[in-house]
């Protein structure tokens, strides 16, 4: 059953996945093109770090897009057909949802491996000054965690296209927005404190806010 679910998910998402693989593998190649040399000892460190940060931002955007794309492709066909086929499968609904969730996680390994391949390629072909290190595995791990988090959020959201579940999913957003508005109106700094925690290293979504550099010092 899981293979069948994955087959359909692959069929619906494959063109986006192909594009992501191409983009993710070529990101470090483009970075090297911008730097103009594979021998990074020839240019000042700060001239390497600037474009590398730009490439890091691209990885962040790609991770969000990968999660969004896989989540959307998990549900959009069923949503368009009132989920009649999905809801009449002879398994408990939670199990079907779990298989769909799992198929997206499995498919996300393809772009994640593209990140690893591109980063390892860049690590192998460059010569770096002693103070500069390269992080292909850490970058890939960061990309994977960010992708799965984005996928999880979007997957939950896309199950909510039916009015009842949409209302349930929108409720926490309304609570958050109300909190922000009350905070702004009363002049307290609760939002700032929460914002600092959310962007900090211990936040569940902190992975989106750290450094995403392939080359760093």
């Amino acid at each position: 059953m899981f293979r069948a679910v994955m087959m359909t998910h692959w069929k619906w998402s494959r063109w986006g996945v192909y594009l992501l693989v191409a983009a993710l593998f070529s990101t470090p190649v483009v970075l090297l093109g911008v730097l103009g040399t594979r021998d990074l000892t020839l240019i000042p460190v700060w001239e390497v770090l600037g474009p590398t940060s730009g490439a890091g931002a691209a990885y962040l955007v790609f991770s969000l897009f990968t999660g969004l794309w896989l989540a959307a492709s998990a549900w959009n066909v069923d949503t368009a057909q009132d989920a009649v086929y999905a809801l009449t499968r002879p398994v408990p609904r939670w199990y079907f949802v779990l298989m769909r969730l799992g198929s997206g996680v499995a498919l996300s390994l393809v772009p994640i491996l593209a990140v690893l391949a591109g980063a390892l390629f860049a690590a192998l072909v460059t010569t770096r000054p002693p103070e500069m290190r390269v992080f292909p595995v850490a970058l890939t791990a960061k990309f994977a965690v960010a992708t799965w988090l984005a996928y999880g959020f979007c997957f939950g959201g896309f199950t909510g296209f039916r009015p009842r579940t949409a209302a349930r999913n929108v409720r926490p957003l309304v609570v958050i927005l109300s909190g922000v508005l009350i905070d702004a109106a009363t002049g307290s700094h609760v939002t700032t404190v929460i914002g600092n925690w959310l962007t900090g290293p211990w936040s569940p979504i902190g992975v989106f806010f750290g450094r995403w550099n392939l080359f760093d010092v």
Partner: protein, 304 residues
């Protein structure tokens, strides 16, 4: 699990939007029956079927399919049920071959060899995308998928609606072949009355979310008659049959539509001083129309 009834609905009410689609619906489908579910558009046939397969939840009452309570054990019932919805529900991006693989993966009873034989008989191209199939081909594919899983119960919601006569015959033949081989139960809704007349041995008639008749097809076909009567008093004593309608006919005769008619009942007319001139058989469509007319009149009287 051996059950006398393949489908049993007791006091089922389903609220859909702001109105009640089904109101205290009781329905019993014997195991092994080919049950025709008749009703005009908007009578609640599709709502009933969606409730049967767990797509809608009953607000009240119990729904049992193959012995399983659908509210708690829908997956077990669905494992043994082939379902063809009113509108195509298959994934359009998949090819026919992929659809067969995908559907078959859910059912341990899936018969891949038979599915391939049926595909060949239906002339379906393995590489054709489902979204590019014609309406007739899509109908055939849905029936193929439903019966190749070898279900004990087939639930078909207007499976031949909009199909040309040749495709319709192919689809129904495939269903009947399967039934004759396996003695599976079929629950089929349609507004094509003559189509059901040919294949069903039980019939249920739904009107405004309530069942107005549920009986064996032969009783339905033979039990409803049009009588031509003259000299009957305006106020009738209790009759041994059910008088569905009474109106003026040709000349001085009245036309009565009755249910439960038996030839010995003609002596009753002598007893009330009336003359029974003729007994006319109604075909299924006429019987259906008379049943609906009676049900609507009764409802109007109830509202008034």
């Amino acid at each position: 699990m051996i059950t006398e009834l393949s489908i049993e609905l007791s006091g089922v009410a389903v609220h859909y939007g702001r109105t009640f689609e089904l109101k205290d619906l009781d329905l019993k489908v014997p195991a092994g029956a080919v049950y025709g579910f008749l009703g005009p558009n908007g009578s609640g046939k599709t709502t009933t079927i969606k409730t049967l397969v767990g797509l809608l939840r009953a607000d009240r009452g119990t729904v049992r399919v193959l012995g399983y309570d659908i509210a708690r054990e829908a997956p077990r019932a669905l494992l043994r049920t082939g379902y063809v919805p009113e509108r195509p529900h298959l994934y359009k991006e998949l090819t026919v071959a992929e659809s067969l693989r995908y559907h078959g993966a859910w059912y341990p009873t899936w018969d891949a060899r038979w599915a391939d034989q049926l595909r060949g008989a239906f002339g379906l191209d393995l590489d054709a995308r489902v979204g590019r199939l014609s309406k007739g081909e899509t109908g055939k594919l849905m029936i193929l998928l439903a019966i190749a899983q070898r279900p004990e119960l087939l639930v078909l919601d207007e499976p031949t609606d909009g199909l040309d006569p040749v495709v319709r015959r192919d689809v129904l033949s495939a269903v009947l072949d399967y039934v004759s081989e396996t003695n599976a139960t079929v629950f089929i809704s349609s507004h094509l009355i003559h189509e059901l007349e040919r294949i069903c041995d039980w019939v249920g008639v739904l009107e405004s979310g309530a069942l107005v008749a549920e009986l064996p097809m032969h009783t339905f076909k033979e039990g409803i008659k049009r009588l031509r009567v003259s000299g009957a008093p305006a106020q009738l004593p209790t009759a041994p049959f059910v008088l569905l309608a009474r109106g003026t006919g040709l000349g001085s005769a009245e036309e009565w539509v009755v249910r439960g008619w038996q030839p010995p009942m003609q002596v009753w007319f002598e007893g009330i001083g009336a003359n029974l001139r003729d007994v006319v058989d109604l075909d299924l469509e006429e019987s259906f129309v008379e049943l609906l007319r009676t049900a609507r009149a009764a409802r109007r009287r109830g509202v008034a």
